[in-house]
Symmetry: none
Subunit: 195 residues, 4 copies
DNA sequence: CATGAATGAGCTTTCATTCAT
DNA sequence: CATGAATGAAAGCTCATTCAT
């Protein structure tokens, strides 16, 4: 019945989340005020609180939004019939492209503890789950002889770390497509696992 | 002579800077109050302002402290008589170890804009200088035939990014020495430049 | 229409300005805290900041409020068809009465530099404009032969100075109406221009 | 015996007072910090407290210094054998010149209550005494038929007010000597009492 | 649903003042 | 006498959050 209204509400909420994410990355979480977000969307502070419970909640949902997407992407890759090498390549490239695209809300939270203990745990759970999935790609490749490394965990951290860091310096450029960056990262990071 | 007193003062300032850096990383810049720092050092807020001009100044000096040390380390390596390969290895290892040791004040600033335009520029200048030095190591190696890569700049970013990220997850462990981490990173990141 | 609400808001802002002006004069700008103002109005500090940007802004707006009124009054007098003598008389009396009535926020600022360079300039602009208008009254009278003085500028300063000073000592008294004070000042200060 | 030392101390205290007065006028009482004064004199904060009990004390003594001098000047004039007219002329001129010379510490206090009730009373006592003396000049002149006015008190306030105000706008100029200003004021303000 | 208004807790910063050395 | 260092109270200001209308 009211599904139409509900849809509207969900959409509006998404709009708010996206704007919040943008500002959080642009100016930082603390420097971004609820009023900033409201102004940018031509709403009032009060209106935002109709869709969102708190500023913390806003940040949390931003993260969940992105993390869920990342996990889905990775799961799809893992469930495919590709070789370990191909899977790793696709994992790296898809993460690079997604981080560039979303400009990495994913990362905000890792850096500073601005969530309550409780929410922070949930965030870490998702992150850990993503890392586990990624690690399984490496582990599988090691087991089937495609990859060689004395330390899967460190390899994982090295790889994900270098990718996460892209959001620090990325700016769109004419002479370098996102695809090129993704290729460079996959080609060179794969070397860590082969030799 | 008052050199004794002066020494004391300089040392105290360093203590404050270090504690600030610790807390900034632990809880984030905004979540850390001057009072937090004071309490941790069993001083009063006022006493801190005797040594430091403002919270922003505190952050800025934290960064300068670490950046200067990093640059010095790298310069020393560059000026040595080692081969390009050895230089890269030493650059990576020394940065990894220093980041672990100082727990990376180095990074705080890149992520969020919490400094005034003016101070931020100074910080970026130092960072850029470090990156240039590092790039010169790669460039030199490429010129003397030791390294191969189609994109020196991306290689640099990949390498430094992965190292910077260590501060995100590092925790001291019994079964893994810092030296081992440094070795793993140098050994595997060098692969990016060789093959 | 929201005009009702708007009106309320404007009125409230005026109430705040007036109370601030009162306290600034009573206790001085620095000795008056925002909390003082808030308490006096039975509001909270935060509420005041909803209407006003800063303490400095508060002082600036107080001044503008009064200065604008003074200038309007004087302009009206100048544009009338009265003789120069009558105009001077009315100028003096209206200023005396207004200063008594508003207890002279007009003056606070001249004495101490508590505004930023920028705002202070704006204030001086208004004051200068008022003085120019007043000077034109004297000049006109001198030209049409009504007034005699060897130094119009000093005469202006002497006259306005003595009037401004009223706010220093004025207290309502039973045996002396404001009108009487105004008459005394106009009658005697006019002597400066005649003889 | 130690009179030499004492002299030194008294002189130093005077130096401090004068510098304080200067800064109080230049930047206002609240905007001037003890450190400002100390820096300007190349002393330390602590050293100032050896000569002065508190910031309030400093302001109070500044005032006393000037007020005492003004009162002495006026008393001397009164005790002379001049006519009432001459006495008034000399009173006005000497006050104008003194205010210009000392740039009017005299005034700071009238405008804002920054002293404790107790000290403020003492200040007002001195001021009242000065005003009484001045009033006596007018009264004497009225009694001997030299002056005419319906309200001696208002006349006094008008005259002293206009003179006090000089400190507001006075700046040394090439084309106008202090003596000229003093003459202009005496000549024109005397008109209030004659006609 | 949306808004204008208000709250209140908490933060950075300043400074007069004190005191051991 | 003088100083460096420290204290602590108080101020200005910000903002997430709430709520009557």
């Amino acid at each position: 019945m009211s599904s139409f209204r509900e849809e509207r509400a969900v959409e509006k909420k998404l709009t708010i989340l996206r704007m919040a994410a943008n500002l959080f990355i642009q100016k930082g979480y603390y420097a971004t005020t609820i009023e900033d977000i409201a102004n940018e969307l031509r709403m009032t502070k009060g209106a935002i609180y109709y869709y969102v419970n708190s500023k913390e909640d806003l940040l949390f949902q931003c993260h969940t939004l992105v993390a869920t997407k990342c996990i889905e992407n990775l799961q799809e890759i893992i469930e495919s019939n590709d070789t370990s090498l191909k899977k790793l390549e696709k994992s790296i490239e898809s993460l690079v492209l997604y981080i560039i695209e979303e400009n990495a809300v994913f990362n905000i939270i890792n850096r500073h503890n601005m969530l309550s203990e409780e929410l922070h745990k949930k965030v870490l759970l998702q992150r850990d789950y993503y890392e586990e999935l990624f690690e399984s790609v490496l582990e599988d490749g090691k087991n089937d002889g495609s990859f060689h490394t004395e330390n899967v965990k460190l390899a994982k951290l090295l790889i994900l770390g270098s990718i996460n860091n892209i959001s620090t310096w990325y700016k769109p450029r004419e002479d370098q497509s996102n695809k090129e960056i993704a290729n460079f990262y996959s080609k060179n990071l794969i070397k860590v696992l082969t030799e």
